[in-house]
């Protein structure tokens, strides 16, 4: 059951993303972007449920029941109202040619094998402990994850904003598997998949007018996999975090949200897709739920400011050269 979780996450993210785009009247997004937006919406809905629950000292299973109900409702609404646009996403001519992507798939599978067979880096990490504590006590951030007993001084508000471990607890409860399987296997797989989705958007941007576009995109994906595997030998670098700490919020920020925010900035300033502003706001809000403000929100804001400035200057320069 645990191993069906990625499929569930992918399908729900896609359908919820599709519904979000329908509400915004945005019909131009490709399925990858839909999945990314859907994932961020799911994270924000979870956050919106958890924060009042913390204030009201509500039990964890009450929150999960409401979340499940919201999930089911959104999926049903999405299937009813977006059926037409969903079917157009999967027309045979829309699907990619698989042959150039075989090597990329092999390299992707190699990374997944690492998640299943190698020990992750858990130094100073309390994620699994938090999941176990939440499930055993049915309380949200009331007990110390390392001890299981009540906190002496509690947890800060900034700490309570981070709801990613609680989302893992929800998945663990949903699938019934051991928390370590969800956190150390499924979460890194989810993170890696999403990072490939972001880089597929970058690849579309880079190689949209290139010859042999599909082959170049496939080579780009192979390279990303090789960089992740080979770069993981040096601790303190993002590739190491991608391979051995894929369950941590920081990894989500640096390998998914920051590249996605930079891509969105280009769409806003470079291609004048103003609807992307909404997705950018969702991305910034999502960063608050994943890790501490200093490690998540601030780097993302730095990247957005620089990317926006550069995108504006770049567009201006292109226009001047055309004249």
């Amino acid at each position: 059951m645990v191993y069906l979780l990625p499929v569930f996450m992918l399908v729900t993210a896609y359908l919820i993303g599709k519904l979000g785009q329908k509400l915004l009247g945005d019909y131009e997004k490709n399925p990858m972007e839909t999945c990314l937006n859907g994932t961020l919406i799911v994270i924000l809905i979870w956050e919106a449920l958890i924060l009042p629950a913390i204030k009201l000292l509500a039990p964890f299973d009450a929150v999960t029941r409401i979340f499940c109900a919201i999930h089911l409702m959104l999926l049903a609404v999405s299937l009813v109202f977006c059926a037409k646009s969903i079917s157009t996403d999967f027309l045979p001519q829309q699907l990619i040619t698989p042959s150039p992507f075989i090597t990329a798939c092999v390299v992707f599978a190699l990374q997944v094998v690492c998640f299943f067979f190698l020990m992750p880096d858990t130094t100073g990490d309390f994620t699994v402990e938090t999941v176990n504590t939440t499930l055993a006590s049915n309380l949200i951030y009331e007990n110390h994850p390392g001890m299981g007993t009540t906190f002496v001084y509690g947890i800060t508000f900034r700490g309570k904003l981070v709801t990613l471990p609680l989302l893992y607890a929800f998945w663990s409860q949903l699938c019934g598997g051991h928390a370590a399987e969800v956190v150390y296997r499924i979460a890194p797989l989810w993170c890696l998949g999403l990072s490939y989705m972001v880089y597929s958007l970058w690849a579309n941007l880079f190689f949209q007018k290139a010859e042999n576009k599909e082959v170049k995109k496939a080579a780009f994906f192979v390279g990303i996999g090789l960089l992740n595997i080979c770069g993981s030998f040096a601790p303190d670098c993002i590739f190491y975090y991608q391979m051995y700490c894929g369950f941590r919020g920081e990894t989500f920020i640096y390998s998914i949200l920051i590249p996605y925010a930079v891509y969105l900035c280009y769409q806003i300033y470079g291609n004048k897709k103003m609807r992307s502003c909404i997705y950018l706001i969702i991305t910034i809000l999502g960063s608050l739920c994943l890790t501490d403000v200093q490690k998540g929100c601030i780097p993302i804001l730095i990247a957005i400011v620089i990317a926006s400035f550069i995108a504006m200057i770049y567009k201006l320069g292109r226009r001047m050269r055309k004249r």
Binding site: F116, F117, L118, M119, T122, G124, F126, V128, E129, T133, A136, S137, G146, M147, G148, T149, F151, V152, Y153, G154, I155, T156, V162, A180, L205, F206, F207, K209, A210, A219, G223, I224, L226, L227, I229, C230, G231, S232, F233, A234, P235, D236, C237, Y241, Y244, Y254, P259, Y266, G270, D292, Q294, K295, P299, I302, A303, I306, A307, I310, Y314, R318
Partner: protein, 270 residues
Amino acid sequence: MMETIQKAFEMAGGSEGLSALFLTGLIALWYSKFNKGTESGYLFWYALAILLVVINPLYYFVVNQYLPELQAHNMMLWLLPTTPVIMYVCVSATSLVKKRIDKVVFGFAMVIILILAGTTSYTGNGHAFIANASYIPQSEYEMITIIEEYRKENQMPNVMLWGDQEIMQYARTYSGNINLLYGKDLWLGSQDTQLHQIYDEETINAYREMEHAPFFLPEIGSTALERGCDILVLTQNDFALSGIEIPKQISDVFVLYSSSSKYLMYVRND
């Protein structure tokens, strides 16, 4: 200050090899940035701007003063778009090669460069294989499963465990029903600044006593009783090294219940 920046710059991209590739990629992007119809210019200026910000002394000062958590693991260097720069240049370079055989050779060369660049700063920490689905080392797993069986047999909703650092580290990874006298944040220092757990002097002393358990058995027994511990786990090797005989009882209250290849488990007798 300059030394710190230099060190940070060396680390950019994760390893010396990857930073070299990143900088080479940046130069290659500069060369090709005026290619019309591609977005390489945007990538170039963005990568350059981020690089200039990240190695800036002012930025370093601000991060040191106000954002110390960003300093951990050189996290600010992760802002560099290392992956897109390196891969964009690698993939674009293939279009310069015309013959099919040359493309194959070029592809292999690129793969070898990526592998070599990534492994130049191999730290030798090694990567261990997992022993079980709980991601706990086998010797600790053996003992924790015995503890969990004991809890279930005695129909206890929770047990309070006190033991060696290594068993304490993994106990709560296995089950949320095993409570501990102190968490791993005690011996790791304050790893998570959001957790406001402050340990009193007594708990710190208890930790020190447990790390030299054979010499403090009466103290351990009385502290465990006082703190409401149900289970004590000691390391067999500590007794072997100290030359002290393995006791059958600790403070007349904790009796030897079970043992594994590495650990001894004592439970409360009342």
